[in-house]
């Protein structure tokens, strides 16, 4: 009812006028061979293996255009051959092997060799490495090259080693070139082996790429790709609406609904491997299991998704989304405000005498993050929880989390594009991990043995049991899986990427 009337009002307003105006704007922003992307984050650095930008999931779309990962990843998160054509463990998981694709060339025309691969791996795993994921890369060593095959010793069995090769910092860099120009020179003129080469870059402004003629894979659909860095969502909307850009992402859902109906524009919104969750810290009043469970049961996730996110979100019950390998649909944490009130009453709390704590949240970092927390606090208020909202910046969140000083409840988003339980439940919930908020021995005892489990089935089942235990104890509040809205000109074809990386290679002219 509401929806319809709202649209009517809209139609009466600027909508019709804009539709006419924009019909003419459906021509590609800068010619047929060029794709212009209004991108939501700035590219800080070209080295995909170093510093904070290396672990920023959004930037991977750019890195994956310029560089190749050891192992590729399809839009549905499945691993596929990349620079490595085949890989695996020996039977007792003490050795690894990998085959390097033979016909790959760097952007400067020189061949990519197994030496480059080994150099990249050793650099990533070195003791003084600035690679944020070096704790994974350092689990293998003693690399040997025999033709196109590389073998190595597993210093410690790491079940996700090869998965990381398709994930953050899993990129092959040019040994000879990097050693020649150094880190600073590499930032100035980076070369990789990916489908696009860097043509011109202006920080905070744009990155222009041109197709790599030597590329080993499918020829990219566009000769030129321009990433315009537009961090402001409203400006991005204006970019696509005015026709200055051909495609953009992460716009407000209301705007997405409006613009996808505009003539000449199309929209696609699919769930990505990014979730919204509320960390619970093991301090008062969260040490009371009744309070934790009541806080979870009082949240109507479906109402939040439907009303606040306009349906763009998938409620989740654990930290695993349906795409992850340890997803268990039998684990449920249903919405039950009555039960929540009862649990609180059992601990002596009521709406008149509420339990009080602080909840921290970012604001504008993720779509509707702050609004979502406001809605949740409203729901809590009704059952007898009075939460005070404290807004923090993302930098503060990281510091508080690593020093274990988060508030009793803290909203955050968690990305896990390889879908493994270690990178979702594992690092978020394991006490010794610097990223966990709930630290308790009972849980650590259950998680501990799973890290090095060599039997894959036993490993995944073990994580499912951990997820069930966490849900039963209420150690974390999973909220929803995010949906990524992408708007583009109708003469384009876009394959959404589950990892959330809007790679230019997934865009092509519509037939």
């Amino acid at each position: 009812m509401m929806e319809v009337t709202r649209r009517q009002t809209l139609a009466l307003g600027a909508g019709a006028f804009l539709t006419d105006l924009l019909a003419a704007g459906a021509v590609r922003a800068a010619g047929k061979d060029t794709l212009t992307i209004a991108y939501n984050v700035n590219l800080p650095s070209f080295d995909p293996t170093d510093g904070p930008s290396a672990v920023n999931p959004t930037i991977q779309a750019i890195y994956r255009s310029i560089f190749d990962q050891y192992i590729g990843q399809a839009p549905d998160l499945a691993l596929k051959p990349g620079i490595l054509t085949a890989w695996g463990w020996n039977d007792d998981k003490t050795k690894l092997w990998m085959d390097v694709r033979p016909d790959v060339k760097w952007h400067d025309g020189s061949p990519l060799t197994p030496e480059d691969v080994v150099w990249s791996l050793e650099r990533a795993g070195a003791k003084d490495s600035a690679n944020p994921i070096s704790f994974i890369w350092s689990t293998a060593g003693n690399y040997k090259i025999d033709g196109n095959r590389i073998t190595a010793d597993a210093i410690r069995f790491e079940p996700t080693f090869f998965m990381w090769m398709a994930f953050l910092t899993g990129y092959v860099l040019p040994k000879a070139y990097y050693e020649k120009v150094g880190a600073e020179g590499f930032e100035k003129k980076p070369i990789g082996s990916g489908p696009y080469m860097v043509d011109e870059y202006q920080g905070n402004a744009f990155l222009r790429l041109k197709a790599n003629p030597h590329y080993w894979g499918d020829k990219p659909a566009f000769e030129t790709v321009i990433f315009k860095f537009v961090p402001d969502a409203t400006t991005r909307v204006a970019e696509i609406e005015s026709g200055s850009s051909d495609i953009t992402l992460e716009v407000p859902y209301e705007e997405f609904d409006r613009l996808k109906k505009v003539k000449g524009l199309s929209g696609v919104a699919t769930p990505i491997s990014d979730i919204g969750m509320i960390f619970i810290t093991n301090k008062e009043p969260m040490l009371d299991k009744n309070v934790r469970l009541a806080a979870i049961m009082a949240i109507d996730k479906k109402a939040i998704v439907d009303r606040l996110l306009h349906g763009y979100g998938v409620p989740i019950e654990t930290l695993e989304t349906s795409e992850y390998s340890a997803f268990d649909p039998s684990i449920k944490t249903p919405y039950d405000p009555k039960k929540a009130a009862e649990l609180l009453a059992a601990s002596g709390y009521s709406p008149q005498k509420p339990v009080k704590f602080t909840i921290q949240t970012t604001r504008g970092f993720k779509p509707k993050d702050y609004e979502m927390i406001q809605a949740i606090v409203g729901m809590w208020r009704k059952v007898g929880i009075e939460a005070d909202i404290e807004v923090y910046e993302i930098a503060k969140h990281f510091e508080l989390r690593t020093t274990h000083k988060l508030a009793p409840a803290a909203f955050y988003n968690w990305g896990d594009a390889i879908g493994d339980p270690t990178t979702s439940t594992g690092f978020a919930m394991f006490g010794p991990s610097p990223h966990s908020a709930w630290k308790s021995d009972d849980l650590d005892a259950k998680i501990g043995p799973l890290w090095g489990e060599k039997d894959e089935k036993k490993r995944i089942d073990g994580w499912k049991a951990v997820d069930a235990y966490i849900a039963e104890q209420g150690y974390v509040i999973p909220l929803l899986q995010y949906v990524q809205p992408i708007l583009y000109k109708s003469d384009l074809k876009v394959t959404p990427n589950k990892s959330g990386a809007l790679q230019p290679t997934l865009v092509s002219p519509a037939a």
Partner: protein, 299 residues
Amino acid sequence: MTEASVSSFPAASGPNLATRRLRALLAEPKVTIGGGFILALIAIALFAPWIAPKNPLDQDLMLASLPPAGLASAEPGYYLGTDDLGRDVLSRLIYGARIALIVAFVAASLAALAGTALGLLAGWYRGWVDGLISRLVDIWMAFPPVLLSILLVAVLGAGVGSVIAAIAIIDWTRFCRVVRAETMAQAQADYVTAAHAIGFPPFHILMREILPNVVPALLALVSLEMGIAVIVEAILSFVGLSVSSDTPTWGGMIAEGRQFIHQTWWVFAAPLAALFATVLAFNQLGDGLRRALDPVLRR
């Protein structure tokens, strides 16, 4: 205790002075209109719980994004409509006036207090005191204000207190410079020489003779500073750094409303209009004060 005054400014002394200044003020339309608006706003802010039609924090996702009264599909009782969480825009606007005014008055007063104290000292004692304070002002003014305020709020943590502190810490220099110059000028005046001759102690002269004569210039500046404070609060809210928790602020509303301008333009327009009107009122008031109290301009 009656205070002796040898002030010859402006041309007469005694109890008449206050009344005359007041009369001059009320004759200035900018003062009456701008001041009237601010007084009305103060009343609204003070009596917000009685004036606001709804609780500004109450959300009702079923009543989200309602248009203002008079438009199609508006709901009775929501005069300025609701935002995307179903909160009443008018009530949020009214409560937002509280934050805006608190920030304006407290931050401007603090900045004025600090700036005046240092300005008086520098202008009166000159020498190394002046040198030290002036260097400090130079250093301070060389910081880019927006960047410094963002940094300061990052240091102090989000919240009304931090915003106020940031504004006061950044903007005391404006007052210091003016008061210093004014004090130096006044110190040359005949009445100060006379006061010296009578044998008043220097500190007495500074506080009892010079300060009252600096006040007119100060008042105008305070009013302008209040307008600036309202804007700075809005900018900080806009960057997401101002007041945390549920408290509605105009800047926060602008930032929220901007994202959905096509769906709910009123959420954007209403606080923008309030911000604009308030800053305008402070500016006009400051302007009027300056005119009414400055004998040179009053010719």
